[in-house]
Amino acid sequence: MSQASALDLRLPIGGLFTAIGLLVGGYGLATNGDAMYERSLAVNINLWWGLVMLVVGVIMLTMGWRATREHHPASALPAESTPEGLETERREHRKGLEH
């Protein structure tokens, strides 16, 4: 029953979106005004969509990071080996649905 706490799924998703957001958004910033944006109807879709993905990525990272810290208090045993840890996990699952 330890898997959900071992790797919060929001961390890799957040990391991926942050990285892609930076790449695409940064590229959009660097190429702003380029002729290739005629293709996307004069919208710098790289810049705007890159920003959207960056925001989504950072939100996911923050949520995942907070949940992970709740699971593993610095001094305690691995969360899954204590009854409190198991209880936290259960609560976490329910919380997961609401996001």
Binding site: Q3, A4, L16, Y27, Y37, I45, G96, L97
Partner: protein, 577 residues
Amino acid sequence: MDSLRMAHLAPIDYAIMAVYFAAVLVVGWLLRRLMRTSTDFFLSGRSLPPWVTGLAFISANLGAQEVLGMGASGAKYGIATSHFYWVGAIPAMVFVGLFMMPFYYGSRARSVPEYLKLRFDEKTRTLNAVSFAVMTVFSSGISMYALGKLLNLLLGWSFDVSIFASALIVLAYVTLGGLTSAIYNEVLQFFLIVFGFLPLVYLGLKAVGGWSGLSTQLAAVSAARGFPADAYTHAWRTMGDASQNPIGVEWFGLVMGLGFVLSFGYWCTDFLVVQRAMAADSMTAARRTPLIAALPKMFFPFLVILPGMIALVLGGAHAGGQGLIPAKIDASGHTVLDYDLATPMLLIRLFPTGMLGLGLTALLASFMSGMAGNVTAFNTVWTYDIYQAHIRKGASDAHYLWMGRVATVAGIVLAIAAAYVANAFNNIMDMLQLVFAFVNAPLFATFFLGMFWRRSTGHGAFWGLLSGTLGAAVHHGLTLPAGGSIGIKGGYLGILHTYPSELAQTFWTAITAWTTCMVVTIIVSLLTRPRPDEELKGLVYALTPRPRDTERHFWQRPVTLGVIVLVMTLMLNFVFF
């Protein structure tokens, strides 16, 4: 081939792909230590929260063939393609969540075929397990072949390199982290597909003047093809008469064939999707899995069908093509539209460097999620339902865990082989898909009777399934779609009836198979000895206590969620009536 490629990728596009590949591999790597027992590997230790299993539930189904195929159908049939979601998926997903999951999850069966073993007998299970295992291998092979062809056409990549590279990545993360890794990556891929295609739909609609602009232009296409002006932009209005809509089917065939037999047969019995729900951490979570999946699923038509419709009217036709869709020469030498290219062509047309990399990565992600879904379902059914049941009983758990990893490698190698077979003999694959349709169509009758009629017996189920498949073959052999020639399209037993379209024929083939299976199962069951009620507890509706929902809030209960999903779907049908 270099001169034929249609798009050029820049370093930034490759960088985006590389980041995605790294992410899926890291997930597999981080999860590898958790795979201690076979239950961890095949069932994720039944420990995942429902929003994760729910998104994986639709993502495993959202393969490249779905993304490309739905775009193609959007261009062929218009918004009526959304029947595949609103009629052909959502009701069945609600049904499996509310009524069938208690038996799948509650019986502690480890796979769908194993439920058949518990409920009926070994031979019914083996029949289902073997046909399912063969199908998963071939369908991932077919989808691999489609991907290799597409990447070769669009980017000039080598067919071999595309196939081997993508297969190797899936192999790596599934072998490392088992079902959990597949499911985690499916959720990641789900987000990537959504974020890759949303801006495509936005730009596409902007380019054609919004929904009203699209409607006006599609009305002209519709009239030119001999249908009423609103046939492409209204889902139901022209369904009264098969000759008045591009699908070529009337509402009864659609609702019974697609909405009932095919849809329930797939969503309620296919282990590929049911396995995701079985990985959930509680009965309530398992029941909520398909319901949570249904919420985004009902909006997918806007993501995957609209691009096809837009590609049909956006200017820039190639010689003989229409809109963005190029022409090709089909097997019988006719020039036809290459509908499968509708979505990729729109991607290339509207996305600049950067977003193009993201769009193609989303396409790769959809391919990988579909492939990983097939592979994880295959390794489980092989290990539990074939290897453990017939080849080596009673080995240690560590041995079956090892077998699971071997089966993953073997499944992928076989799928690659199937992709090359598809490349060499295109007709063999068409034939196989036809056979799969025959095998799948009667399945829901067997499960329905098994779960809700305690009198049904193992002999009844087995012979019902076989005769259902036979019934499908006979119906297909006696009918032909308009314009089709005798052979793979049907008619090989003589022609009793001609359908206006291939889809109409498919729907009625499924209806025939289901009815045959239902009738034969009932007759044979009544002639054979039923199992005592004692043995059927937890497996049959009448002998199982109703699941009690443990959720505190009423809106978290499966029933509430199911009602919300159905009402929303109904509303979508009215909006696009």
